[in-house]
């Protein structure tokens, strides 16, 4: 889904701090979600460098509290 080590020509890279690509096992009205096979991508910059770096964390099963959700989309279409 998200490319790593891209440059910051796209301002969105600076706004999007992280995303999670996963299978939704369960959700509710608050957007609380249980995700399986989750890959979390964290975007960051280092001082004096415009380069956007990213690192990933994997988790077999994770619970996300709904209030931190901004957007949900089909990962196949991103």
């Amino acid at each position: 889904m998200s490319e790593s080590n891209s440059t910051s020509s796209e301002p969105l890279d600076l706004i999007r701090l992280f995303d999670i690509c996963a299978n939704v096992q369960a959700y509710d009205m608050h957007c609380n979600m249980v995700l399986s096979d989750a890959t979390e991508t964290i975007f960051y910059t280092e001082q004096d460098s415009p380069e956007i770096k990213s690192r990933t964390k994997k988790s077999d099963m994770v619970f996300i509290r709904g209030d931190s959700v901004i957007l949900v989309s089909d990962a196949a279409n991103v």
């Binding site: 301002p11 969105l12 901004i70 957007l71 949900v72 089909d74």
Partner: protein, 72 residues
Amino acid sequence: MSSTSNFLAEMTNSPVVVKLQHGLEYHGVLASIDGYMNVVLKDTVEMVENNKVRNYEEVFLRGNNVLYISQK
């Protein structure tokens, strides 16, 4: 029905711009909206400062992040 929810209901299936509090804009066709301002958009372009960033066939936006919804 109040005039605000009327306004939103009449906008379904028409092109809209949804701006989030973070500054991101989503230009797409309003598929659905509820009382929390949760929004589903189709054929959506994600924009930051008038730069096209990403495309979504279908996207759900959680209502608490919405700043405004405007008719295109």
